[in-house]
């Protein structure tokens, strides 16, 4: 009987610590979810004379994938992202974050290019507006131009199949 209280406290502590172990402190909820995608006007990586602005994608569900040639985990997710983009289920736009354009282009020609187009964000200004803090990051934007989901860190087949794909499919069903 006299051990019941300490045991109870111990069990509660274990449960809380157990939950704490499962949480990833690096996954900070984005305040941008449900808000209009921040606008920018930046040159395209492969055609610097042409610019890109998120407004051009209005009416479409699309992904914005933030990557860089210097980013190690981008290399890791690249295979899966390329495979996913190849299914044609959704258009993926790349944001080459704080990267030299020639390095970015080289990286894509070596590893394959899953993007309909990439944008050069040399200074990281667009990244700042989008709340980017750990490359790679992937945003899902709906037909109205609202950010509906953010994936921080590299995507893998499980995340793509069970998180990203269902969201894209639901959003495709929504009116533009």
């Amino acid at each position: 009987m006299r051990y019941l209280l300490p045991l109870g406290i111990f069990i509660v502590l274990v449960i809380f610590l157990g939950i704490g172990l499962k949480l990833d402190p690096h996954e900070v909820p984005s305040p941008l979810i449900g808000k209009p995608a921040p606008q920018f006007n930046l040159p395209q990586l492969h055609a610097p004379e042409k610019s890109f602005s998120p407004e051009q994608m209005k009416g479409k569900v699309w992904l914005l994938n933030v990557w860089a040639s210097w980013c190690v985990s981008c290399r890791q997710e690249h295979v899966y992202l390329t495979e996913f983009a190849r299914t044609g289920v959704v258009e993926v736009v790349g944001l080459d974050y704080k990267d030299e354009p020639q390095d970015g282009k080289k990286w894509l020609s070596q590893l394959g290019n899953p993007y309909v187009l990439s944008i050069t964000d040399l200074e990281g200004t667009a990244g700042l507006d989008w709340g980017v803090y750990g490359v790679p990051e992937t945003f899902v934007i709906d037909k109205k131009g609202l950010i509906r989901h953010k994936q921080t860190g590299p995507v893998d087949p499980v995340i793509l199949e069970t998180v990203i794909l269902p969201i894209v499919q639901t959003l495709n069903g929504e009116a533009g």
Binding site: V28, P29, P31, K98, G124, G131, Y133
Partner: protein, 150 residues
């Protein structure tokens, strides 16, 4: 000797690398506000550091953003909301009191109250036990005394 010199050189080269860019302020009030703001804002890459201390590239960007905004005359509130609009309340070392952060603010007070309550209960119980003991002891003493007088 050569080894010592090499060692010292390596040491100093680390210090040179670790230097944080210093911004020039003509107005000391602005400088104080810059210091206060960068100490209040969390670096999201190395989450236990504020952006004043962190060497992460993101922290550098955020510092230069704070500087830039101070220079164009934005208020502290404007700068703070610029940051929270992009990175959420997590970017603040002192999150605002909201229904979502209520437990964060109340937990320490609750813990102290609970601990105090527990302490009080234990003390009271101990006093009661002592009183009971003295009563039994008294009875015992009386019994002994009675027996002696018989």
């Amino acid at each position: 000797m050569k080894k010592i010199v090499m060692f010292l050189l390596v040491l100093f080269c680390q210090i040179a690398l670790a230097e944080i860019k210093v911004y020039d302020f003509k107005d000391p009030v602005l400088e104080l506000r810059y210091q206060a703001l960068t100490e209040e804002l969390r670096c999201l890459v190395c989450q236990n550091q504020n952006i004043a201390d962190s060497h992460a590239e993101l922290a550098q960007d955020l510092r230069s953003k704070v500087y830039e905004k101070l220079m164009v005359g934005e208020t502290d509130d404007q700068i703070i909301s610029y940051m929270t609009n992009r990175y959420g309340d997590f970017v603040l070392y002192r999150p605002p009191l909201k229904s979502k952060t209520m437990i964060l603010w109340l937990a320490p007070v609750l813990t102290v109250l609970l601990g105090g309550l527990g302490f009080w209960v234990v003390l009271r119980r101990r006093n009661q036990v002592q009183e009971q003991l003295t009563e039994i002891d008294r009875q015992h003493i009386n019994d002994l005394l009675d027996r002696k007088s018989e």
